[in-house]
Subunit: 422 residues, 3 copies
């Protein structure tokens, strides 16, 4: 890693302004980014996608192919998709009801728990063959509220400390008892930070996303800017009144409102969890506000609100009383990302009778399509010699928070370049 | 930039032989080339393409996206296509009658003169926000004979000194009063110098371009070789007689004939301007020689001649009495170029009545198609370990001139590596 | 070349285990590989493909375009496909009956023996022009058993010493008197060594290739593992008995059986030549074992056997009594190869009457399709951080031999980095 070039970029960074271009466009930064991102926990799916023993989900994460599998004991595990013999990929695609993993190259086999089935091998190997050394390499895995998290690091961040604060809200929304009804992904020419900054930016919503804008009151969008200007202050007061009114009328999950978690510069993760009211008349985060699926979890009626949450820089989960949506930024290169969206409804809901898949997915499908060109145009700008880090608007204070967090984490990464191992 | 490798190539160069392969194939040379090319002025269009205030042309030049716009005052300006806020591309495509530039990301707006419209921003920014620092970054721009030239350098070459000698000829041809009737572009796998050398090479014309060959007499093509051989000397004498005969009969623009400008090794630009007779019976540089559009400028009849001109290593303009053609080499990488062709006729000419677009464009469309494989095959040769710089033929003396000019400019570039800024 | 990184990989290698990942994935290793591969002789076709003077075959080899041509004297020669003047490609595709090579750029012409036709050039060049310096650059070429071999090195390996041991067998099979009936090629994302290791691996055949497996007895496949285990020892004994029985009944070419040539770690080439019995009832290496073309060479009946041979790490030739198949691995980048297959039958055989092309090609077309995903999956594994060189099975002892040979050759390459020239 060329630390000199990265250090020069770190010195150029001025808080309150955008990042210097090289943070988006420099392959050396990209190499450091990948190491910095590795210890985090990433969502690779939901337990409902692999309900039975031997069900697998093959996923791509930070350049690695990973097999997520439900074992004979019902527990979920993850393994690198690499045979210990000649390195061939074990599973080409997700599957159901496997009894074991069998390599397509030489039939080396492993139990669903990753142990090599060496009986057959003993015929061809002598006693110096060490079966233990040829088991599959496991990845760290945790299941939380039905969501499957994987970390590719030897020393992942502290999972329990990170997500315990999310627990009550996720339990109330019944995320553990949902099912995935659609997964949709597409690629874009952009740096992953372009997308993070877009995801946490309320300022662009009224410009780019008309239907998303309507899900909140005008005061909500304006209030994001904490400045002294009279107009904004009035909006902030108004938004606060709206929040108070909603809280006063709230009967469900009344102790978890507003900003519940919001990480900043000095936190290890980059998490947030926010619950707040939708526009009057809106029961769900949909086009027009009508519910599109049965209530989830412990809801007995809509709370007229939604939850935005984020687990790490790359993975978000947005929840309404009737459905939830997961967004995964998957960096592929300094100038290339893949964007995956998963939609969830209550596991007892029946397609056709209780919900229509297209209707549930309509809202964020539109939002994705509206953001896609923004990602590419913004990344394109960073490649220009005319690019200068612009002044962040007050509404973009959270982007500034992310950038300070990122710069601090990258500096740590450059100063103590740990060698990755499995 | 790896100056050591470039210096080694500079030492290998022998005048009179082709360039060593690395000048075409080495990415380090490519990085130096781009810096060397940057101070020049490049044609990005014709004023007729953006006739009214708010009309824009979005163009790509040396890796940058540039907006060319006619302002409210009728003047033409150019700006980098990068919003000063978050860097997003302001204009995705050329447009007509814009009132302002509005960024698709957060609605930041700029006047057609590039000034930020900060009134709306004042609501969200405090008094420390500096509007002047957030205007669009302008590019140097000049309009000459209706042609729009842009330079991306802080210190462009001297425009007036460069193009004053072209003025009389361009005025007579009425280039300012033409209109663009077609733009056609395509990409090729080749280095930009492969194309420059092809463009200024009379030696290949009789081999590759039968219809182009017929536009001049046989003596013209042979005379390009200034050697002692009897056959060539005879051709040169014959070509001179043909030139004299044409000049003697000339009634229009009689004081501008032959080689008017021809830059060499020690000049800053790499310009040329040559006017000479077509083959007997040819009124225009077309297949068969017939005129394909009304006479342009001050012509009252065809002068039976054409003009070849070049403004810099990458841009040429060829003129007949009834139409003109602009060629732009646009380098994209050491092994990738884009080739744009624009056809011009008198602005008062009416399609259908006065000209047929396909007929006007037929000649150079064919020439382009004939040259395309030559570019790729020649570049391919430079990648072979069997490639040796071959002896240049006498007919290629102008290629030798270009190569000496290029080597001299590159040496200057390597010796004084100025940092580019906007 | 970054010898430090290569040396570190060389130190990591443990005989008996797979190669460290960098040998497959590192671009520096790739650069060294190309130099190491250059002195070898590669099959570029069969004489029957260019039967008459002026017939040419244009081939790609290690990044070079090469013209293989039969001259006026009937001899076959090879030249780099690069004009000595400006470097343009002389021949875009294979052709028949050329009288000379004429460059498409400026009509420079060369005899079929590569000599420049300078008479016409003398008109334009003075006496300082040296025709000898502008002849085409020849490649080393040898014809053996009708097969055309080319080496791109100045100092190729010793051809006669290498292939003399193959002579009797190839003469008996009549390879010189065959014709090519189909050439089929396709690309894959893999390192060339992934393919070499796959080509010489008997262990995967029963897993991946059911029809190939049936061409030999079960004992044959098991016997590849030379271990002390009773089961394998029994198979080896059984395979030996089968070999003895076949040899006892053999009436044709009885003095050339079993392993005739098998290079190891300390040999210069990486050759092998093995002849052994097919399964009972099999007359040819086909699906089901029936003959698909007339007997070749001196065969009067099938010998119930087939021959596997290899000339260098990249080129193999497999022979049955009625047809032969040539396989060429063509490396394009560290992660990209092209795989060419050629099928040969007796030159007197008549399509439709004596053989059906699809039927002859069916067997190895299927084998190719079965191996293709294995190549990509195995290469993919080497890019994972979970990849560890696995223990080679006893059946993979020949892969271990190749790897020791490769590591030794690469070490020599790194220690004495000769500059390539033509």
């Amino acid at each position: 890693m060329n630390s000199e070039r990265i250090n020069s970029l770190l010195e150029q960074y001025r808080p309150g302004y955008g990042l210097p271009a090289g943070f988006y466009t420099d392959p050396d930064v990209w190499a450091a980014d990948i190491e910095m991102l590795t210890p985090h926990w990433y969502i690779v799916g939901h337990g409902s996608q692999i309900p039975d023993p031997g069900d697998t989900k093959v996923v791509s994460l930070l350049g690695e192919s990973v097999i997520v599998v439900r074992g004979s004991d019902g527990a979920i595990r993850a393994f690198y998709n690499v045979c210990s013999h000649r390195g061939a990929r074990l599973c080409d695609e997700s599957a159901e009801g496997l009894r074991q993993f069998t390599c397509p190259y030489h039939n080396w086999s492993y139990s669903l728990e990753g142990e090599i089935k060496s009986r057959r091998l003993e015929v061809v190997f002598d006693e110096t063959f060490d079966p233990e050394a040829h088991n599959l390499r496991p990845c760290h895995l945790r299941v939380f509220a039905g969501l499957i998290f994987v970390s590719l690091s030897d020393a992942p961040t502290d999972f329990d400390a990170a997500y315990q604060p999310f627990e009550d809200v996720f339990r109330f929304y019944g995320i553990a008892d949902t099912k995935v009804i659609r997964v949709h992904g597409f690629g874009a020419t952009a740096n992953w930070k372009t997308l993070v900054e877009n995801t946490i930016d309320p300022y662009h919503v009224p410009v780019v996303h008309p239907n998303f804008t309507r899900t909140r009151t005008p005061a909500y969008w304006q209030a994001a800017a904490a400045t002294r200007h009279a107009e904004v202050t009035a909006a902030a007061d108004q938004a606060e009144r709206e929040m108070d009114e909603w809280e006063a009328a709230l009967t469900q999950l009344p102790n978890a409102t507003g900003v519940i978690v919001q990480d900043g510069e000095h936190d290890e993760q980059f998490r947030w969890l926010v619950r707040g009211p939708l526009a009057p008349g809106y029961e769900s985060e949909t086009i027009g506000g009508k519910r599109v699926a049965p209530l989830m979890g412990r809801f007995t009626e809509s709370d007229g609100a939604s939850v935005f949450s984020n687990f790490n820089p790359l993975d978000s989960l947005f929840m309404s009383p009737d459905h939830a949506t997961i967004f995964n930024i998957r960096p592929l290169a300094h100038d290339r990302i893949y964007w995956d969206t998963m939609w969830l409804v209550d596991s007892d809901a029946e397609e056709g009778r209780d919900y229509d898949v297209d209707e549930v997915c309509e809202f964020y499908t539109e939002v994705n399509e509206e953001d896609f060109p923004i990602w590419e145009w913004t990344y394109q700008g960073a490649t220009s010699r005319a690019y200068r880090p612009g002044r962040l608007a007050p509404q973009e204070s959270f982007i500034g928070e992310f950038q300070r967090w990122y710069v601090r984490r990258l500096r740590q990464q450059v100063e103590t370049p740990a060698t990755l191992s499995v």
